[in-house]
C-alpha cells in the first residue's frame, strides 16, 4: 500500500491507530480513581508526545542514517516557533501559513548551518552544530530583542498582543490559532461511565501531521537516497572512492531533519502561540538526542517511542510528591516507609532530570539500540526459550 512493503504498511497502520485512538489508550484509569494521575490522555500532554515525536523522527533521519550527531537541532525548532508566531502577529491566526513558513524558515537556516557544519565530520560536526545553536540561542535571547529591532522579545518570549496587525484576521474567527475557523483549543469531552476522554482539535491536527511525516520517513528509509545515507554512516571513504560525493546527500539529510524540527516548532506554536528562546538552548537539543537514543537510533518507530516515553515519564515523575510516596509505601512498617520515601524522593518531583540522566546512561551502556532493541531482545529470548525447551531433550545426551 502507498508504495510500502507489507511490514512497513503494518507499522504505519499501527502508528495511525495508536495516534488516532490515543485519547482512549492513554486514559486507561477512571477519572476519579487514585490511578488517574497515571493517565496521559489530556490534550496538552498528547500534543507534546506527537510534536516531540515529529522532532525525533526528523533527528533520526540525520543521526540514525548518516551517523552525524548534531547537538544543535533545537535551534531549528526555535526558528520554526518564531516564524509561526510572526505569522500570527502579522497576518492571521490560521495555522496553515504559520506551519508552512516555520518549515521553510527552518529549511533555509538548516541549509546555511548545514553547509558550514558539514564540512567537518565526527566530533567537530557535533561541536560546530552546538556552537551554531548556542549562537542562535544568544541571538534570540538578548541580541535580537533590543527596542530598535525586536524580533524575538527576549526573555519574555514572543507572543501575540491585542494591538498586533493581524491583517487577515476577521470577526467571527477564533482569537486563537485555528484551522480555517476550527480553534486548536476546541475539545470534545466524552464521558463513558467513570471514564472521561477528551478529543482535541489541536491534537488531531498534530496526529495527522505525524502520520504524514512518519510515512515520509519510511519512504526515505527505504529509498535509494536512504541507502546512500546509510553508506555515509558505514564507510564514507569507500563511498567517495566509488565516485559518489557524500556531501550533497548529508546536506539533504540535514535540511530534511531541520525542516522536521521546524515543523515541530511550528506545531508547538500553533498549539500555544508563544515562542521562547529556551526552546533553542542546547539542553533542548540534548533532549531530542536522548529521545532518539532511548527509542532506538536508526529504527523507524524508535524515535516516536522514545519521545513518548520521555515526555510521559517527565509528566508522571514530576507530579509525584512526598505524600503520594507515603501512600505507596504505607503498607511497610513506619521506619521502613520513611526510609523508602527518603530513598525514592531525590528521583521524583523536581528530581526527574536525575532519573532521566541515570536512565540515559543505562541505555547507552547496556542497550545501545534503545527500547526497540530491548523489545527485540525480549522477543528473541521468548522465542529461543521455547526452542531451547524443544531442543533441550535432544541435545541433553550429548553433554
Amino acid at each position: 500500500m502507498l508504495g510500502l512493503n507489507n511490514k512497513d504498511t503494518k507499522l504505519l497502520i499501527a502508528v495511525a491507530v495508536l495516534t488516532l485512538l490515543a485519547p482512549f489508550i492513554l486514559n486507561p484509569f477512571p477519572a476519579d480513581s487514585a490511578m488517574a494521575q497515571f493517565n496521559a490522555g489530556y490534550p496538552d500532554l498528547m500534543q507534546r508526545f506527537v510534536i516531540f515525536g515529529i522532532f525525533a523522527i526528523g533527528f533520526n533521519i540525520l543521526f540514525g542514517l548518516t551517523g552525524y550527531l548534531s547537538f544543535g537541532h533545537a535551534a531549528f525548532l526555535g526558528i520554526g516557533s518564531y516564524a509561526a508566531v510572526w505569522i500570527f502577529k502579522l497576518f492571521t491566526y490560521n495555522v496553515v501559513p504559520a506551519i508552512a513558513l516555520a518549515v521553510i524558515m527552518a529549511g533555509l537556516f538548516s541549509v546555511i548551518i548545514g553547509y558550514v557544519s558539514l564540512r567537518r565530520s565526527g566530533i567537530y560536526f557535533s561541536i560546530l552544530t552546538l556552537a551554531f545553536a548556542q549562537m542562535s540561542f544568544a541571538l534570540a535571547y538578548s541580541v535580537l530583542s533590543n527596542p530598535k529591532f525586536n524580533l524575538t522579545n527576549g526573555e519574555t518570549g514572543l507572543q501575540v498582543y491585542a494591538d498586533d496587525i493581524q491583517m487577515f484576521h476577521r470577526e467571527g474567527l477564533p482569537d486563537l490559532p485555528h484551522l480555517f475557523g476550527l480553534s486548536m483549543r476546541s475539545t470534545y469531552n466524552l464521558d463513558i461511565g467513570a471514564w472521561s476522554f477528551s478529543f482535541n482539535a489541536g491534537y488531531y491536527l498534530c496526529a495527522i501531521v505525524l502520520m504524514l511525516v512518519f510515512y515520509l520517513s519510511i519512504r526515505i528509509f527505504r529509498s535509494p537516497f536512504g541507502l546512500m545515507l546509510r553508506a555515509i554512516k558505514s564507510n564514507q571513504t569507500r563511498m567517495s572512492y566509488t565516485g559518489l560525493n557524500p556531501r550533497p546527500h548529508t546536506l539533504a539529510a540535514f535540511v530534511i531533519s531541520g525542516m522536521y524540527a521546524g515543523l515541530a516548532g511550528g506545531l508547538m506554536a500553533a498549539m500555544d502561540p508563544l515562542a521562547g528562546a529556551e526552546r533553542m538552548q542546547w539542553t533542548a537539543s540534548g533532549e531530542v538526542v536522548l529521545m532518539t537514543i532511548l527509542g532506538g537510533t536508526g529504527t523507524l518507530i524508535g524515535p516516536v517511542l522514545g519521545a513518548g516515553f520521555i515526555k510521559y515519564f517527565e509528566n508522571i515523575f514530576s507530579k509525584i510528591n512526598d505524600s503520594i510516596l507515603h501512600e505507596w509505601f504505607a503498607f511497610l512498617p513506619d521506619g521502613l516507609e520513611n526510609f523508602m520515601v527518603f530513598i525514592v524522593h531525590p528521583f521524583v518531583g523536581k528530581g526527574w532530570h536525575l532519573t532521566l540522566g541515570i536512565l540515559f546512561m543505562l541505555v547507552v551502556i547496556f542497550l545501545p539500540g534503545g527500547l526497540v532493541e530491548g523489545g527485540q531482545r525480549i522477543a528473541k529470548w521468548i522465542k529461543n526459550r521455547g526452542k531451547a525447551e524443544d531442543s533441550g531433550a535432544t541435545t541433553e545426551p550429548a553433554e
Binding site: G67, L69, V116, R119, R120, S121, G122, I123, Y124, S126, I127, L128, L130, A131, F132, Q134, M135, A138, L139, Y141, S142, V143, L144, N146, Q236, T237, W282, T283, G286, V289, I293, P346, G351, H353, L354, L356, G357, I358, F360, M361, V364, I365, P368
Partner: protein, 340 residues
C-alpha cells in the same frame, strides 16, 4: 592605552578558566581518546568543594549567653563555630576567612578520586565504542552529577567570598605610571592558573612518568609493547585532568557564585576552546583559552556593543566557526588526530 590593557586583563580571568578546563579536556582526549562531556560537571564540583568547606567550617554550636539580651529581652543565643572554639577566636576566624584557599587541599584528593572512579567505573568500557557513544554517556553523567549537586545545594547561586585580605581592588599599573584598577582575587586566580598550567607542563616534560605519558599519547601500542602498563598511567592522567578542572572551579567560586549549571555553561565554551586550539594539542588549548577570553572581553566593551549589538554574546562561536572552516585542525592541531 590604559583601556586596552584593562580589557586584556579583564579577559584573563575567564580565559584562565577556559584554559584550565580545556587543558583537562585535551589531556583526557590526548591520552584516552575520549571526548568527555562531563568535564564541565567536574569544574562545577570543584566550585562546590569550596562551598562545602566554607559550610563545614561554619558549623557552629549555640550557647545561651545570660549577659546579653536580644531586643525582646530574652537571653541571647550566641553561635560560635567549632573552629573558633578549638583554635581560639582569632585563629578560628581567619581559618573561616581563608576557607576558599583551604578548600584546595580538599579538592585535589576528592577530584582525583572522582576521576579515578569515573575512568575505572565507566569510561574504561567505552574505549572501543564510537565517539558518539562516548559523548552520549558522558553527557548523561554530566546531567546526573549536576542534578545530584542541585539536590543537595539547591538551584540558587551560593555566594562564596574570597579571604578579606584578597578582596577589593588594587591598582596594578601604579608602578608603570598607569591607572589600572583590578580586583585582587582575579589577579590571584590568573597567577594560580598559570601555576597549575606550568605544573602540568613541567610534570609532562620533566618527569619519567610524564615522558611515558607523552610517548603513550604519540603511540600507545608501542609503549604497551615495551612492557609499560600504559593504561594505568592514563588512568592517573584522567585523575589529574579531573583535579585540574576541580582546581579551576574551586578558585573560580569567589568570582562567580557557584550554581549547579555553571559546569554546562563553561563546558560548551571549553569545547569550542579545545577545537579552536586544536584537538589533542595542550599548548593550543591554553593559548586558545586565553585568546578567546581576551577576545570576549574586547567584544564586551561599550564601543564594540554599540557598533555591533550583541557581539559579546556570539564572538566566541563566530571565531570558532571561522577557525574551523579556515584551519580545520585548529590553531595548533596536529595531523592525524581525530581525523577519519
Amino acid at each position: 592605552m590604559d583601556g586596552l590593557i584593562l580589557q586584556i586583563l579583564n579577559g584573563l580571568d575567564k580565559g584562565s578558566a577556559y584554559a584550565l578546563i580545556a587543558l583537562g579536556l585535551t589531556l583526557i582526549f590526548g591520552t584516552l581518546g575520549v571526548v568527555n562531556f562531563a568535564h564541565g560537571a567536574l569544574f562545577m564540583i570543584g566550585a562546590f568543594c569550596a562551598v562545602t568547606i566554607s559550610k563545614i567550617l561554619n558549623i557552629s554550636y549555640e550557647v545561651v549567653d545570660p549577659n546579653q539580651t536580644d531586643f525582646l529581652g530574652n537571653p541571647l543565643k550566641v553561635k560560635t563555630p567549632y573552629v573558633e572554639s578549638w583554635f581560639g577566636p582569632e585563629m578560628g576566624a581567619s581559618i573561616i576567612d581563608w576557607s576558599v584557599p583551604l578548600a584546595i587541599l580538599l579538592t585535589i584528593p576528592v577530584m582525583m578520586l572522582i576521576g579515578l572512579i569515573m575512568e575505572r567505573g565507566l569510561i574504561k568500557h567505552f574505549y572501543s565504542r564510537e565517539h558518539a557513544d562516548q559523548i552520549l554517556v558522558t553527557f548523561g553523567l554530566a546531567i546526573v552529577l549536576q542534578e545530584i549537586i542541585k539536590y543537595y545545594f539547591g538551584a540558587n547561586p551560593i555566594q562564596t567570598p574570597p579571604p578579606e585580605a584578597l578582596q577589593g581592588v588594587a591598582n596594578i599599573g601604579a608602578a608603570f605610571g598607569m591607572d589600572l584598577p583590578y580586583p585582587i582575587w582575579r589577579i590571584v586566580y590568573f597567577c594560580f592558573s598559570l601555576g597549575i598550567i606550568g605544573a602540568v607542563f613541567a610534570f609532562l616534560q620533566f618527569t619519567t612518568f610524564g615522558m611515558v605519558v607523552r610517548a603513550g599519547m604519540a603511540d600507545r601500542e608501542t609503549v604497551g609493547l615495551l612492557g609499560i602498563n600504559i593504561d594505568r598511567r592514563f588512568t592517573i592522567m584522567f585523575a589529574i585532568a579531573a583535579a585540574v578542572a576541580g582546581l579551576a572551579g574551586v578558585m573560580y567560586a569567589p568570582i562567580n557564585p557557584p550554581n549547579y549549571h555553571m559546569g554546562m555553561d563553561f563546558l560548551v565554551l571549553s569545547f569550542v576552546v579545545v577545537v579552536v586550539g586544536g584537538m589533542g594539542s595542550l599548548p593550543g588549548a591554553v593559548l586558545a583559552g586565553f585568546m578567546l577570553g581576551i577576545l570576549e572581553s574586547f567584544a564586551s566593551t561599550t564601543w564594540a556593543t554599540t557598533t555591533l549589538p550583541g557581539i559579546n554574546q556570539i564572538i566566541i562561536y563566530l571565531v570558532a566557526i571561522i577557525v574551523l572552516l579556515t584551519r580545520p585542525r585548529g590553531l595548533m592541531g596536529r595531523k592525524g588526530v581525530m581525523e577519519e
